[in-house]
Symmetry: C2
Subunit: 337 residues, 2 copies
Amino acid sequence: MVTIYDIAKKANVSAMTVSRVINNSGRISEKTRIKVKKIMEEMNYVPNSMARSLVLQETKILSLLITDITNPFFTTLARGAEDAAMRRGYKLLFGNSDENLQKEKEYVDMMLTARVDGVLFAPTGDASLEHLSILRTHNIPLVLLDREVPGFETDMVLGDSRAGARQLVEHLISLGHKRIALLNGPLHVSTARHRLAGYKEALKLNDLAYDDRLVVELDYKPAAENLAMDSLLQQTDPPTAIFAANNFLAIGAIRSLRAKGISVPKQISVVCFDDFGESLSLDPFLTVASQPAYQFGALGIQLLIERIQDKSEGDYRKIVLPPELIIRSSAQALNIM
Amino acid sequence: MVTIYDIAKKANVSAMTVSRVINNSGRISEKTRIKVKKIMEEMNYVPNSMARSLVLQETKILSLLITDITNPFFTTLARGAEDAAMRRGYKLLFGNSDENLQKEKEYVDMMLTARVDGVLFAPTGDASLEHLSILRTHNIPLVLLDREVPGFETDMVLGDSRAGARQLVEHLISLGHKRIALLNGPLHVSTARHRLAGYKEALKLNDLAYDDRLVVELDYKPAAENLAMDSLLQQTDPPTAIFAANNFLAIGAIRSLRAKGISVPKQISVVCFDDFGESLSLDPFLTVASQPAYQFGALGIQLLIERIQDKSEGDYRKIVLPPELIIRSSAQALNIM
DNA sequence: CTGTTAGCGCTTTCAT
DNA sequence: ATGAAAGCGCTAACAG
């Protein structure tokens, strides 16, 4: 392995001079700078970031933990974070917790031993509090993404789940629907609670009664939608529309409905939170509350780096990004029979 | 920051003893082991992987570079790699080159300075040769994924693009199609060349003439499919079926066709390479050659770690994973008019 | 403008 | 069973 000492020897200078050339620090004569640079090239020198970090006490590595790498919302968010980090000279260490608290813990340990300079964290749920506290104990700057965790204060970038849910449900109501089901994620995740709140709010604003038989809470398990649909449809007064709390739930629901021979949107309307990437949807027909996923990542990195560099104990900032209602064809006016 | 010296002092032992406890190495009395462990807990000690790597000359970090983080093929592959790496005690540093040679170079530099123990590399194309050579120069074990690069020998995990393409095209032929267009990726990527070869092979096996007006080479730019469709359809003897070399191209093509009021599959059949994840496709109707993406990642890691640990200069291994033909409804029998 | 010294946190080697 | 010394590759602080 080529070190600065190898370079130094060959260039007849001290290691320190080589170090200065590498970092463009201090004053160095143009002549030696060029000589050293040339030798570094010749010898294929690559700085050792381990050694550097050890003395500098900073790694220039940020970590991004997401909960589902197969979800377009998170991959788009990841691209936003990556671009923003790179642009500012930071590397990004990805992690995928898979909505799994145990995996999340492993990633937290990894962040700690890797001595990352900061963390962008999409928690699996309220139980992530413990993990966040560990990071806080070690003074690692931290930005929460997409989901908040009760009892934990920090910078965050969130969507407006309540408003988005309300808009979606009001859209259904404006189409004449009165029996609207909510296919929700687990309530230990803040976004699920907020979407439920928005759902209730929309009902109330329109003088519709809240019926808890229309609300189903699903964890992110495959095929759970199928059972949920069954029970929903067997009710005496079944829903005419479904509000799915995220894109995957909507897809699961629609597939389940179609498998039963029920047409969407002709027989049942469906709307959901989160869009799919442009390149993924064959037939963009879902009416959605689309979130600016790329911005989530980019702004998260910005907050994080500001926190790292200012070292300031300034007040925590909470950025709330509004969703955009995109009306397509998966929800239609209720047929008056 | 808590170091082994802090622990040592508090436990009235030497740093060396603490180190031994951490690594379960050497013999230590049960009494001191327990005492030291307890103090480590109390003080929230976390080993510093930088310092450790610096002396050990290994990081236990592997790097995975993919070309498109929004493509389900690669995210699924990433999950396979991640699971396999974690299971064997390695961490995975993700990178997303975005089919961009410049970004790829930045990631290579990063791998070098981060001193990763090995690299899983999906190259952007043949021009990646230079980057691979750099890694080779620095003796970094390397496994190529999905795409090979002429002139570069190493372990690889590939799909059988030629066979998959042949099957897809023969399927179309069996449905009565004779004018079959190929919507291909750029030819500086090995998979595109192999898919072209498979396409030609299928034609030849069925005594159909190869017509280069039916073959379009697209780079991965948005909306390129639209223009390609235009020119394809304006021909005197336009295609009745399209073989798209990957999932995104197929989607682009279908959207373009539908925008022109052309129905798939009624008027034009479409098949493609690579499936979508289960959770992403609303309406799994595309007939595809599906690749075992998860296996690509898992096997890649396996090859890589074996190479790292054996240090052996054994022969390079090339694993070729066959695709699976999944017949759905996007391709139908040609209407005899 | 350049060099010397010391030390970042850890483990290897050699003592005891 | 435990410890002391040296060194991994690098840079901050000070000296010249």
